[in-house]
Structures are given as structure tokens and as C-alpha cells.
């Protein structure tokens, strides 16, 4: 194995053919079910997440229709409660976090110059787990057994005494199960980012998007266990008569809130931080310069990651906390505006000093800046306890979090989809459809959610299925509902653009945007092995600095081999053979899914799941003749 300035032509053609064979997924249904290729898994992850987005969006439209007029009889309270719970749970657990992780799974190996994620089969297992969890929730909803106590499901309303039937049990098990998938993706991204970078890509040269994904993945690893523990405790309270949340037997109702929000607050930063990575990539490409202040941006990301874990009590300001505690969390909640502010100022500096060329993806990034600043400012408002005591649990907060989640995460995501669609499909999306979808979405979004600030201050609480005419809320609600219709049109335009592209877009080539990161050096769509020869980088913007980089040769092409490098400096360490396609991840996901679903009804489900898992994990890890990999340290 060695680094050469440029590979020889004949050797390259031969290597390319061999790699295509080695990294290929078997054809047909079996191949589709057993693939461990990160791009295939990530693509279906993104598609599934957007299907859930559309489903939850339809629920939102139904809610807005119900709320458009006072005392509407369109939907009764029971169905409405299920609708807003499934809308929130789908958006947060089945769309927002999975889609960000999936974009990471797709882009990170390409951006750091490697061939696959660190644990390819576990990656596939994560997707199947996610799909089963999402299917569980939605099939339950269609069977009238969807959860109906809100996406954060406070006890005692969600406890065994006040929530009859299996609705909340299904929610609790869905959470535990789906967050396994989130943890899997988090682990993938951390290990891949730290150990699989191509030579020369030291930590201070990795793209900001990769930094964002790394911070997000570390946050996932620390935050998801809290919600899994909490939902398991709730499931146990309901199923096997434990007393975690039963005050009469020594439990505490506020314990649920603490456990949930210890996860819940980092969750929103888990959603937001990758979006900042997208924005950095988009602004770099369309302002034609690297983001200003790379070290500050990285420090801002890392400090957001840490600070995000110290804010959770701001969701509980109305529960009668001691003043000192309230002050602490007000301070922390305001303080996190500083790293976010650093990022915004660096982006603005980049835009101001670059040569901006407007394309549809950039519009989404610019829309993000406008909407996120507004959402962040209302966030500073509700961080302050006195004002929060008026705004908490009202439509003001609904407006705030939609500004930071839709404006702050979905807009960058849509821009990222348009930006990387040429890479994923090999075709350019329609520029005019892209601009129109942005404009309609931007107007529709503001029309929907800006009036909600006033509605909240006018006294309208959250989660109400209707309201009296004399409250005076009808005007704002009608406006918001009209805006929701406009947003729906915007989403349809965007979807039409995506659907139109693979068939009729102009061929894109490897680098249609003239961008700087490594994924633009491979063909569109990328071959299964990503790079024929792994590149060697010398700067943060490899394609702008060295258009024809040195490459690593000598990795085996007859087995799926990758290069493992040092975590800090990315000096080559050893070669490692990855696993190929396998049916065991799907079978393991099914096994644990069966266990979880039966556990909704009886604790024997845990036993059943354990037995099935024993079988499938044995199959998964059964030793095969492992191809020899070179573990001796090699100098390049």
C-alpha cells in the first residue's frame, strides 16, 4: 500500500472492474433486503423519512382544518388527541432525527474519503429497526390504537390509571425500539468519522458538515438512552405494576418530565446541528469561499453539543421549581444563543465576503438564516422564566419550535436535498421548480406560524381540539390554516421536483456546482466502492486546493477493504476488511421487533425476543473464514 501522485491508467481500469465486483450487492429481492452499502441504506432511510414527513404533514393539515373555525365538529377530541400525538411523534422520532442521520450515513463516508461506514451490517439493522418501529406506530394509529397523550406523554395522564388500553404502551415500545436505530446510526457516524478518514484529513481539515454529524452522533449516544429508559419505565409501570411514577408508592410524576426532557432538549439540537452542517456546505459552494472562521465554527458546534444537555428544565418552568434552579436554567438557555450566534455571524461574514451566485439550494440556506434567527430570538424570550410563565404550553411555543425546527432544520434539509440530488441520482433538479418551491414554502410557513405568536399571547393553549368563538382566536387560526394550505402546495412542488429529476433532469456529471469537498470527485451517482483509490488531502477544501490529489494505492480489490487511520491526524494505521451483504440484520430486526410487539401485551415478549435475538445474533456473528487483513502498521 502506498501513496502515489497519480495512478497508472491500465491499473486503474483493472482496479475499477475488480472493485465493482467486490462491492456489488447481489441482484433481485434478496440483494435489496441484504445490502450493506451505506448509500443504498441511507437512500432508503431518507425516502422512508420523507414518507413519514408527508404522513405527519397530512395530519397537520387535518389539525389546521379542524382549528380553522371555532367549535368545529369535524374531528372529535379522541381522534384529535391521537392526531397531534402521532404528528409530533412521527415528526420528531420518525422524520427529523432519522433523516439527519441518514444524510450523515450517505455523505460522511464520501466526504472523508472512505468506502463504507464502519459497521455496514449494523447500519442495515438500524434501518430495518426504524422501519418496523415506524410501521408499528402508524398501523396502530390506523387501528384506533394510536397514542393520544401527546408526543411527550406526561404522566399521570399517560400512566396506567388514566390512559386506558394499549395506546400508550405502543408509543412507549415504539420509542424504545426506534431509538435503537438512532443509536446505531450515531455509533456508525462517530466511529467512521474518527477512524476511516483518508490520509491527510486531520481533524482540523474535515468539512464542517462532518463535524456537525460527529457532534450530533455523540449527542445521540448520550441523549437517546434517557428516553429509552423513561419509556421503558413507563411501559413497566403500565404492564408489570412498577411504581416509578406512582406518588403513593414513592414514585414521582416529575421524574418523567426530567427524564424525558433530559433527552428532549438535546433531541432538538440533534436535529438542528446537522442542519447547520448543511448550511455550511451550501454557503461554501454558493459564496465560492470556505466558511469564515472554521475554528470558531467547530468550537460553536462542540459547545452547542455540551450546552444542549444543560437546558432541559426550561421545559418545566411552570412546575414550581426553586428560584435558584430556574435562574440557572434561564442562564444556560440564553447562553446557548452565543454559539448559535457565532455560527450565524460566520455565515454572514462568508456571504458578505464571497462571490454569491444564487441557486435554489442557496435560497433554502438564506431562508434558514432568516427563520432561524426569528426562532432563536423567541427562544431567548421563552428562556426567561417570567415570560415563559405566560408563553409555556401555548401557541407561542408552537410558533417558536416550528420556526427553529422547520425554519432551522427542514429548510436546510430541503436545500441539501436539492444540492446533493445530482450526486445521488446523476441528474440536476429543476432550478425554477426549486425556486418556486422555496418561495411558496417560505411564504406559506410564515403565514402559518407567525400568527401563532399572537394566538399564544392571546391565551390559546396547545393541544386543544377546538376553541370558543368568544375567545377571539378565530381570525389568527383561519390565517394559520390558510397558510398551512400554502405550505402543502410548496411541499408538493418540492416533491414534484424530486420526482421529476431522475427521469428528466439534465445529466449532472461529477461536480455540477464546482464544490470543494471530496464527494464531488467521484462520479454521479457514486459507484458502490465510492473511490477507486482513496484520496490524500492537504487542506479543508481539497477540490479547490488540489484538483488532482495524490491517492492511496495498494488496498486489496478482491475483498471489501478500507483504510483505518489515526483519530486525530489521520495517518494510516492498518487495513481492515468490512462485511458484505447479509440477511442477518433484517432477521435480527424482525426478531427484536417481534419481542417488542409481544411485550406490549405481556412481559413474556421480552423472553421471546431474547430467544429470537439469541438465534439471529448467533447467525450474524457466526465466524466465517475471514479474509486476511493486514494489521501491522504500515508507513505510507
Amino acid at each position: 500500500m502506498s501513496v502515489v501522485a497519480a495512478p497508472d491508467r491500465d491499473g486503474e481500469a483493472h482496479d475499477r472492474a475488480a472493485l465493482a465486483l467486490t462491492w456489488a450487492t447481489p441482484r433481485g429481492l434478496r440483494g435489496w433486503l441484504s445490502t450493506a452499502n451505506h448509500k443504498a441504506v441511507a437512500t432508503r432511510y431518507v425516502v422512508s423519512a420523507f414518507v413519514f414527513f408527508a404522513l405527519a404533514g397530512v395530519l397537520a393539515l387535518i389539525m389546521r382544518l379542524q382549528l380553522a373555525w371555532p367549535e368545529s365538529r369535524l374531528i372529535g377530541p379522541d381522534l384529535y388527541n391521537q392526531i397531534f400525538t402521532v404528528h409530533g411523534s412521527t415528526m420528531m422520532f420518525l422524520f427529523a432525527v432519522p433523516v439527519m442521520e441518514a444524510m450523515g450515513i450517505y455523505l460522511v463516508p464520501l466526504m472523508i474519503g472512505t468506502r463504507n461506514v464502519a459497521f455496514p451490517r449494523m447500519n442495515a439493522f438500524g434501518y430495518w429497526t426504524y422501519l418496523i418501529g415506524g410501521g408499528l406506530l402508524w398501523i396502530a394509529f390506523l387501528l384506533n390504537v394510536g397514542p393520544d397523550t401527546g408526543w411527550f406523554s406526561y404522566v399521570p395522564l399517560a400512566g396506567p390509571a388514566y390512559a386506558a388500553g394499549k395506546r400508550v404502551d405502543i408509543w412507549a415500545q415504539m420509542i424504545t425500539f426506534t431509538e435503537i436505530a438512532a443509536l446505531v446510526a450515531g455509533v456508525e457516524i462517530v466511529v467512521t468519522t474518527l477512524k476511516f478518514r483518508c490520509p491527510g484529513m486531520s481533524l482540523n481539515r474535515i468539512p464542517l458538515l462532518v463535524w456537525a454529524m460527529l457532534v450530533m452522533a455523540l449527542m445521540v449516544i448520550f441523549a437517546m438512552p434517557a428516553i429509552m429508559i423513561a419509556s421503558t419505565m413507563l411501559a413497566m409501570d403500565r404492564l408489570v405494576d412498577t411504581h416509578f411514577f406512582n406518588p403513593a408508592e414513592g414514585g414521582d410524576v416529575l421524574l418523567w418530565q426530567h427524564l424525558f426532557w433530559f433527552f428532549g432538549h438535546p433531541e432538538v439540537y440533534i436535529i438542528f446541528v446537522p442542519a447547520t452542517g448543511f448550511v455550511s456546505s451550501l454557503i461554501t459552494a454558493f459564496a465560492r469561499r470556505p466558511i469564515f472562521g472554521y475554528p470558531a465554527m467547530v468550537l460553536a458546534l462542540i459547545s452547542t453539543g455540551f450546552l444542549g444537555f444543560g437546558l432541559w428544565v426550561h421545559h418545566m418552568f411552570a412546575t414550581g421549581l426553586p428560584q435558584l434552579g430556574e435562574s440557572f436554567f434561564t442562564a444556560a438557555s440564553m447562553m446557548i444563543a452565543i454559539p448559535s450566534g457565532i455560527q450565524v455571524f460566520c455565515w454572514l461574514a462568508t456571504l458578505r465576503s464571497g462571490r454569491i451566485v444564487v441557486r435554489a439550494p442557496l435560497l433554502f440556506a438564506l431562508g434558514f438564516i432568516a427563520l432561524f434567527v426569528l426562532g432563536g430570538l423567541t427562544g431567548v424570550m421563552v428562556a426567561a422564566v417570567p415570560f415563559d410563565l405566560q408563553a409555556h404550553d401555548t401557541y407561542f411555543v408552537v410558533a417558536h419550535f416550528h420556526y427553529v425546527l422547520v425554519g432551522g432544520a427542514v429548510f436546510p434539509l430541503l436545500g441539501a436535498i436539492l444540492f446533493w440530488l445530482p450526486k445521488m441520482t446523476g441528474r440536476m433538479p429543476s432550478e425554477s421548480l426549486g425556486r418556486w418551491s422555496f418561495a411558496v414554502l417560505f411564504v406559506g410557513f410564515n403565514l402559518t406560524f407567525f400568527p401563532m405568536h399572537r394566538l399564544g399571547l392571546a391565551g390559546m393553549p396547545r393541544r386543544v381540539y377546538t376553541y370558543l368563538a368568544q375567545t377571539g382566536w378565530a381570525g389568527g387560526n383561519l390565517l394559520a390554516s390558510a397558510g398551512a394550505g400554502v405550505m402543502a402546495v410548496g411541499v408538493l412542488l418540492f416533491a414534484a421536483n424530486i420526482a421529476w429529476t431522475p427521469g428528466r433532469g439534465t445529466p449532472a456529471g461529477a461536480d455540477p456546482w464546482g464544490a470543494d469537498t471530496l464527494e464531488w470527485s467521484v462520479p454521479s451517482p457514486p459507484p458502490a466502492y465510492n473511490f477507486v483509490y482513496l484520496p490524500v488531502v492537504e487542506s479543508r477544501t481539497p477540490l479547490w486546493t488540489t484538483p488532482t490529489p495524490a491517492v492511496v494505492t495498494g488496498l486489496r480489490t478482491d475483498v471489501p477493504e478500507v483504510l483505518v487511520t489515526d483519530a486525530i491526524d489521520a495517518t494510516p494505521d492498518h487495513r481492515h476488511v468490512l462485511d458484505g451483504p447479509s440477511m442477518w440484520p433484517l432477521l435480527t430486526a424482525l426478531a427484536s421487533g417481534i419481542g417488542v410487539i409481544v411485550a406490549i401485551f405481556t412481559p413474556w415478549g421480552v423472553t421471546l425476543g431474547a430467544v429470537l435475538l439469541l438465534i439471529t445474533l448467533t447467525g450474524w456473528f457466526w465466524p466465517r473464514g475471514v479474509p486476511v487483513s493486514d494489521t501491522a502498521r504500515e508507513r505510507a
Binding site: L157, A318, S327, A370, V385, G459, T471
Partner: protein, 334 residues
């Protein structure tokens, strides 16, 4: 199309008439919060304007055409940008510190309301109504009512809150911020009304099927009027004289009603549902959902599920004469 747009615009503007409740304070707590809000709003507008201005300025310098190659980095420009970004960050930190201090001062002021002989009201949240009790050391002088909190103008009121079932939240935006009602821990809220009037509130923590219809009214009146009201609430229900009302009382006592409700002065003394002793003196029925008139009362009694689906009160399945007598009797409980 234009008609639709015009209707929408007028409706929206109609919604904009008058200040929203939280920004139209009628007491010192809400007033302090509203004042703090003005500060937050001013800072937010300033920051948004500056950020949007910089954004639009950058956008105004855009180029058309295809994507040019990236330019070389200009070290002087980088130094100026560093200075600019650093200044913005420092300014942000200073602004946040300023807002934090303002928040602390407002919070301290909110917690300072109170005096030794403040009026104490105990509010217990139920699914989906508010039980309001004016405590007194002599049990016979205690007043229990529902969905309405009467307070004297100008006097601080300590509202001690707890829940009988799930978590609720007491919120009267024109008077004070909200406080959650928990089944386990007692919480409390200070409020004070500085002018007479009726101030609406609503439960602000999702509590089940009829969370949307769990409203309450805070009635602030002059201290003498308040004492008169309190004294009247202490009296048992007036003894009916007309035969129709007597019959109505019999229907009440013989049927399901007495199993859940209290009417002081009769043998009905159950506490599952609201106290009805002075039902007709309240401004609303069914936790603020219906106006308090005989027609609404009849509609509520004949089928509560059509007004508040999921509510715990069963329908009154009575023959018409008994039903009318019951409605008349309840309507007479002033």
C-alpha cells in the same frame, strides 16, 4: 378569489384588533411580565433587523451567471471580518447578559408579591373542571365553588394549587403567569387584580379529552362586593317555595345527581362533581363552555357528551316533566 382574500385579510385584521390578553395586564404580575416583554421585543426586533440587513446586503452583491472559481483569500478582509464577527459575538453576549439580569429582576419582583394577610384560595384541578375553595378555620364558613375565582381588587391572592388526578395548569393571562397543578406536589401562584372585571383563563397542560373546554373565570370586584359575595356563598341553597321547584329538588335528590354533587342545605353532599349550591350565580356552565342560562343548562343536562365529549357527567335520562322541574330548580340556585 379576491373575495376570499379580502375575507381572510379582514378576519386576520379583526383578530389583530385589541391587544392579546398577556399584553393587556390587569394586575401587577402580568404588568411586570408585559413590561419585560417589551424589552425582549425591542431587542429581538433590533437583532432581526440588523441580521436581515446584513443578509440582504450580502445578497445584493450577488453575481449572475455560472459558478465562478473560488477567489483567493484576502488577509486584510479576513482580519476585518474577524473583528466584525468578534464584535458581534461580544455584543450578543452583552445583550444576553442584560436580558438575563432583566429576567432575574422580573422574577424576583414576581416572587415578592405577597403580604401576611393575603387572601388564600385553594384550587384543585379535576378532569375537566376547577374546584375552588375559600378556606376558613371554621368549617361552616368555608366556601366551595367551581370554575370561578372571585378576588377582591387590589389585594394579593395566594392561589394554592394541586390536582386530584392528572397534571393541569392554571392560567389567567391578564393577571399572572401560569402554574401547573400536580397530583403530588402542592404548588402556588400569587396574583392580584388592580381593576374590577372578569378575566378569562384556561387550563394550559394537556389533561385529556376536554382539556380544550376547561376554562375558568377570575372575577375581580371591589372589596365590599367581594365580602358580600363570599357571605352569600356561605349560605345554604334557598328553600324552594313553588311546587315546580320543590319537585325539581326531589328529582335531584332521588336521581343520579345527588351521587356526585353537593347542594348545601339538602342531603346531597357528594364531592365528585362541582358544588351546585349557588350554580345560578355563576357566569358560565361546564367550566366556561356554556353561558349560564336555562337553555344552555337544559342542553348540558340532557346530553353532556354533545357539549363536552368524554366528560364524566352522565346524561339525565328523565321524563320531560321531571327534567323541566330539575332545570327550573337548578336555575333557581342563585
Amino acid at each position: 378569489m379576491t373575495r376570499v382574500a379580502l375575507t381572510l385579510a379582514l378576519t386576520a385584521l379583526g383578530g389583530c384588533a385589541g391587544r392579546p390578553a398577556a399584553l393587556d395586564p390587569a394586575g401587577p404580575q402580568a404588568a411586570r411580565i408585559a413590561g419585560f416583554w417589551s424589552l425582549l421585543l425591542a431587542v429581538s426586533i433590533a437583532v432581526s433587523v440588523v441580521v436581515l440587513a446584513v443578509l440582504l446586503d450580502a445578497l445584493a452583491r450577488r453575481r449572475g451567471g455560472s459558478l465562478p472559481p473560488p477567489p483567493a483569500v484576502d488577509p486584510r478582509l479576513e482580519r476585518r471580518l474577524t473583528f466584525g464577527v468578534a464584535a458581534a459575538v461580544v455584543l450578543t453576549a452583552v445583550l444576553l447578559l442584560f436580558l438575563f439580569v432583566a429576567s432575574l429582576r422580573t422574577a424576583r419582583a414576581l416572587n415578592a408579591l405577597g403580604e401576611p394577610d393575603a387572601l388564600t384560595v385553594e384550587v384543585t384541578g379535576h378532569q375537566w373542571w376547577w374546584e375552588v375553595e375559600y378556606w376558613d378555620s371554621a368549617p361552616a364558613r368555608r366556601v366551595r365553588t367551581a370554575n370561578e375565582i372571585h378576588v377582591p381588587v387590589g389585594r394579593p391572592v395566594l392561589v394554592k394549587t394541586r390536582s386530584a388526578d392528572v397534571i393541569h395548569s392554571l392560567w389567567a393571562p391578564r393577571l399572572a403567569g401560569k402554574k401547573d397543578l400536580l397530583p403530588q406536589h402542592a404548588t402556588s401562584l400569587w396574583m392580584q387584580a388592580d381593576r374590577p372585571g372578569m378575566f378569562d383563563g384556561q387550563c394550559a397542560e394537556f389533561c385529556g379529552h376536554q382539556h380544550a373546554h376547561m376554562r375558568l373565570t377570575v372575577v375581580a370586584e371591589a372589596p365590599e362586593a367581594f365580602q358580600t359575595w363570599l357571605a352569600h356563598q356561605r349560605t345554604p341553597a334557598a328553600e324552594p317555595t313553588e311546587p315546580a321547584l320543590l319537585h325539581g329538588r326531589e328529582v335531584f335528590l332521588a336521581g343520579p345527581c345527588a351521587l356526585c354533587h353537593t347542594i348545601a342545605g339538602t342531603t346531597a353532599a357528594a364531592r365528585l362533581g362541582p358544588d351546585l349550591t349557588h350554580l345560578a350565580s355563576r357566569t358560565t356552565l361546564a367550566a366556561g363552555t356554556l353561558p349560564n342560562d336555562l337553555g344552555a343548562l337544559a342542553a348540558w343536562l340532557v346530553d353532556p357528551q354533545s357539549v363536552k365529549p368524554g366528560v364524566h357527567m352522565p346524561p339525565a335520562a328523565l321524563p320531560p316533566r321531571d327534567f323541566q322541574a330539575l332545570v327550573a330548580y337548578l336555575g333557581s340556585l342563585r
